[in-house]
């Protein structure tokens, strides 16, 4: 059914690549869009910076603005030492931003509306923080869980709550992106569906359909904002978490 709001999130196999341990490994529409996003981002940036003009042209300016934006974000949140993670943050930001924007083109698939994708991205950040935190700070990394100035008799409880808070990071990190994209696209589809349904009721329906039409236009603008903001939030949280790995309690 065309008006089914969930239909747009279906995963479809394009080709089956093979089988590993009885599990089918397929090239799906989701994988195709991820590949397209990587090609678009990498190819676009290579082409934009190919000229290396002293006075940047239009496309080169865009590339430089994106670089400056992410570099400022990393420096502000994680300090100069955080710049070693710039490639990771820039990759995450551009990948999610392009995937979100692809999703805003009618008829295209929204990869970030699947929690399995966002959860893997969040877990990459989570394990990067843990591994680099122990590699750089050794056991001092555990000071992340011990706030200073706490009386000794409630310290175990506080430490346990801090650990819970730390473990809940990948959950909120992934659920936020996935839920916002999923809910936004469903809302858009439902309101657009109202227009079609109402316009089936004759003249009164046509007049009534103006309200959901206006709402759909407004929601589309909002969704573009959310698509950018979610990529931004994901990247800035990555910076904040990496900051903990760099300086756990100084």
């Amino acid at each position: 059914m065309a008006a089914d709001p969930i239909h747009q999130f279906q995963i479809k196999n394009i080709t089956t690549l093979g089988e590993i341990g009885g599990v089918e490994i397929a090239f799906t529409n989701s994988a195709a869009f991820m590949l397209a996003a990587v090609v678009f981002t990498a190819g676009g940036l290579v082409l934009a910076t190919a000229g290396r003009a002293m006075v940047p042209g239009r496309v080169q300016s865009v590339a430089e603005i994106i670089y400056e934006f992410v570099a400022d974000m990393v420096r502000q949140s994680a300090g100069e030492a955080g710049m070693r993670f710039f490639p990771l943050v820039f990759t995450l930001f551009s990948f999610i931003l392009v995937l979100n924007m692809f999703g805003m083109i009618p008829g295209l698939f929204t990869v970030t509306s699947h929690i399995v994708v966002t959860a893997v991205l969040a877990l990459v950040v989570f394990f990067t923080v843990i591994i680099y935190g122990f590699y750089k700070n050794g056991l001092k990394f555990f000071r992340l869980f011990v706030p200073s100035g706490i009386p000794i008799y409630i310290l175990p409880l506080i430490v346990f709550i801090e650990v819970l808070s730390f473990l809940s990071r990948p959950i909120s990190h992934s659920v936020r992106l996935f839920a916002n994209m999923l809910a936004g696209h469903i809302t858009l589809k439902v309101f657009a569906g109202f227009i079609v349904m109402l316009s089936g009721f004759g003249i009164a329906g046509w007049v009534g359909a103006l309200l959901p039409l206006a709402l759909t236009v407004a929601l589309t603008a909002l969704e573009f904002l959310v698509a950018f903001l979610q990529a931004y939030v994901f990247a800035i949280l990555t910076c904040i978490y990496l900051n903990d790995a760099l300086h756990p309690g100084h």
């Binding site: 502000q76 000071r143 992340l144 809940s168 659920v175």
Partner: protein, 120 residues
């Protein structure tokens, strides 16, 4: 009596009151600034010094999910504890409450109201 005074006099007295009020407000503001925790460079999401950009709306979008994530995790750990120890339902109750606390801590921290551990 106040009603007998010429209008200029009354206007002057109003201006005096205004000036006194302004001075008191300024003093209160300074006292509050002295008490309230300063945003530290580390938790940049508490960004009072940052230029007005997408960061304020971004912070607003974060709050609810930080809270929910703590509760979900607490509930999940509690459920696991119940499964493996047979303390049902105490594991779920205790860990759900602890998750609630962690979620509140997460939300307050992302609002910049609680310092990160070790940063003071």
């Amino acid at each position: 009596m106040a009603a007998d005074r010429p209008p200029e006099d009354r206007r002057a007295r109003d201006a005096d009151d205004d000036a006194a009020l302004q001075a008191r407000l300024r003093q209160l503001g300074q006292q509050l600034d002295a008490i309230a925790p300063k945003p530290k460079p580390g938790d940049s999401d508490a960004s009072s010094g940052q230029p007005p950009g997408p960061s304020n709306l971004a912070r607003a979008l974060r709050l609810s999910s930080e809270f929910v994530a703590g509760i979900l995790l607490g509930g999940f750990i509690g459920w696991l504890v119940d499964q493996f120890t047979g303390w049902s339902p105490w594991g779920l109750i205790v860990f759900l409450l602890l998750g609630f606390v962690a979620g509140t801590l997460n939300a307050l921290r992302s609002a910049g109201l609680v310092a990160r551990p070790g940063q003071d």
